[in-house]
Symmetry: C2
């Protein structure tokens, strides 16, 4: 790989998610050469991706070019590449565009969709971890609505219009909510010859509540909001198979639907070359100490979703959301300084700012400390927090403008089929 | 095709470009059932597409969902389909989604890229007639810049960074200008290890001036602006071949470039089933009378780029730009009223509002009546006119915001490779 020479120690950061971005931006101001590697040339603001999938926002406004991340590009190098493996002894990384050596390596590769080994579902279901996948959902739903206008067979129409989501975590809940808003706005306006009742939205989850990672109070509220919006919530229900456009569950529910979205979980996206003992098999996360060092290595760190730091408060690791990644990235910048100064590294301690999910217009839930907020207050908070964390002034302005427009017009302007989706 | 029954006479409009959109919007307010058919579900604002190709605007902000075109959707039906052929005697249209009968047919299918029969160039060159094509140009240029950072071989770098455009009409000129702005802003900021001089932009044209459809004064000004921006303009130069990433011209110029964009002309996009005598072979446009009736038919009309109306002032037909299409669409609405009232149809007379092209920041040319404007005044006029004609309030706001942002930041925020482009 063609990296400009420098006298500074080189830190390679793999992955431009929340952790990698926070770290790179700050570390470049210290005495380090920062090499950021990602398979995309943009940071993708995951928390708003469901709005791309449901025609509310343009993909460009939730993505930020990684090359534009820092002002001073002298000690910041971005490379578009797939990482193949690491050789810790040689401190060398192998990638699709060649080898590169490092002084320190930071793994911030995040997660991918977890299909729990079900190959059949992996091949036939849609998921939403990348921008192209979100665009596929948007196109496919719109294509199916167009097809629905062509038939008078009610069962056929319903099958085309029905949406089934497996997994009622934040992704499943926010997508279901946004689909029902789409149904109550765009569908009624744009498709006068379709019956909106035929667009059923089914949200399935194996546990006994939605948003199982939040408080019980928040789950209750969210479930009520979803039902108010017409979402059919099926709890204690797991998908057994999805074949010939039919979802079959362990409760013997059979739902015919062309659009089947898998949002049931994530699994780590580890890189090869790290010793086996340092990888947690089940979650595919790298075991790290309190300083985010991958167990058994001095010069390799892991932060964010890919890192499994077991503590008293979090025996199974931190929640796989933006905040721990951002905070670990911030701490690691300071620890890199301490390494240079030869002082003792600081241990990570998670400051829980709370968690939230939006269900629809004026409807959100938020857990902050021991309080649970709901309704309009939570919704407004949700909007503010997401605008604040969105990267880039332009993105914030464009998103804000779109939200105001959508809110007052009950509209979702990005309902375009730019690249039609074809099931394989 | 599944079209709701109605007592009103049915007008089928093929194509949601400027002509089809203007006509549909207004005709639906009269006593007609309007069926608009397009192969995309959006209207594409062609005049700003070059900004999508050069990372200045999101595709979603220059596209408008065709289903959202009219407020009262009762007498307006949109169908996403490819037209296969028309059977004038049976007044039937065959499409990819079945047959449909009409009382009146309006062909507004516009044009496609004209490769003048050169199959080899058709297969290897890029062009910019659709949104996905514009996105391909954006991705491909960015992918090649990423690749350029990986080599120290100067010739290889230049080949990756060089852009050759064949055809200096508005598309070629506006693209070249926008690429040089990209080079002077994003390239310098984002790629500190690349030499911006290596991103050569070559604009080729067979005639002796750029913008040959405009006044000589405008051509001169535009050529000067292009040269000031560093674009290498080659006049009286035609491309003979493009093989193995090398452009060869009739003047024996050889330019190695991965990005080769064909903007040398357009040709009509006719539909099958219309008698041969009514089609102009060379331009592939339908011959129409002064009322836009396709010659030999009472119930079939053609408007916009696909219509060839020979008049004293325009012996070779009207310019293939937005204004004639819009004005013919407007007139046809009134003529449909006259048909219903049984009064005489009115003849089309083109009101030339002028033509313009933008070359870059503060630089545009405009011909209005016998005046030629240039520089900042023309540029500001260009911005205003394009915002005005853009469909949809939201699109106008988002585009306006992006322009302001790009202007003050010398930035182009949409520099994202969302779907990498692969040459076939």
């Amino acid at each position: 790989m063609n990296i400009p020479q420098s006298d500074l120690p080189r830190v390679i950061v793999i992955g431009g998610g929340f952790g990698g971005v926070t770290l790179s931006r700050k570390l470049v101001k210290q005495n380090f050469q920062v090499v950021l590697i990602d398979r995309h040339n943009y940071h993708n603001f995951q928390p708003l991706m469901y709005q791309v999938a449901t025609s509310g926002l343009e993909p460009d406004s939730i993505a930020f070019p990684l090359r534009g991340l820092v002002e001073d590009r002298k000690n910041f190098i971005f490379r578009l590449a797939e990482v193949e493996s690491v050789e810790p002894v040689m401190r060398t990384l192998k990638t699709s565009i060649g080898e590169v050596t490092y002084d320190y390596l930071v793994i911030a590769t995040g997660t991918k969709t977890n299909f729990f080994g079900n190959k059949e579902i992996e091949e036939s279901a849609m998921s939403m971890k990348t921008v192209p996948q979100a665009l596929n959902i948007r196109s496919y739903m719109l294509q199916n609505l167009e097809k629905a206008t062509l038939t008078n067979d009610v069962e056929e129409r319903k099958k085309l219009m029905r949406i089934v989501l497996s997994g009622a975590g934040p992704t499943g809940v926010e997508l279901s909510g946004a689909f029902s808003e789409f149904k109550r706005g765009v569908l009624i306006n744009d498709y006068p010859d379709l019956n909106p009742d035929h667009m059923e939205i089914h949200l399935l989850d194996g546990s006994d509540r939605v948003l199982a990672s939040m408080s019980k109070k928040a789950s209750k509220k969210a479930e009520k909001y979803l039902k108010d919006l017409g979402v059919e919530v099926h709890l204690n229900t797991m998908v057994k198979s999805y074949e010939r456009e039919k979802v079959i569950t362990n409760t013997d529910l059979e739902i015919e639907a062309l659009t089947f979205i898998w949002s049931a979980g994530v699994i780590g996206n580890p890189i090869k070359g790290i010793r086996e003992q340092s990888l947690d098999k089940k979650s595919q996360r790298f075991l790290v100490d309190r300083m985010n060092r991958v167990e058994g290595y001095d010069h390799i760190f892991a932060i964010g979703d890919i890192a499994l730091m077991k503590t008293e408060a979090f025996p199974n690791g931190h929640p796989q959301v933006a905040q721990p990644a951002i905070q670990q990235g911030q701490l690691l910048v300071n620890n890199f300084k301490r390494i240079q100064e030869g002082t003792t590294l600081k241990e990570f301690s998670y400051f829980d700012k709370g968690s939230m999910a939006t269900i629809g217009r004026n409807k959100a839930v938020a857990d902050v400390k021991s309080f649970t907020l709901g309704g309009f207050l939570a919704w407004i908070t949700w909007l503010g927090v997401h605008l604040y964390f969105l990267v880039g002034v332009r993105n914030r302005l464009v998103v804000f403008l779109n939200w105001i427009y959508n809110y007052f017009n009950f509209d979702r302007a990005a309902r375009l089929i730019i690249r039609p989706y074809k099931k394989e």
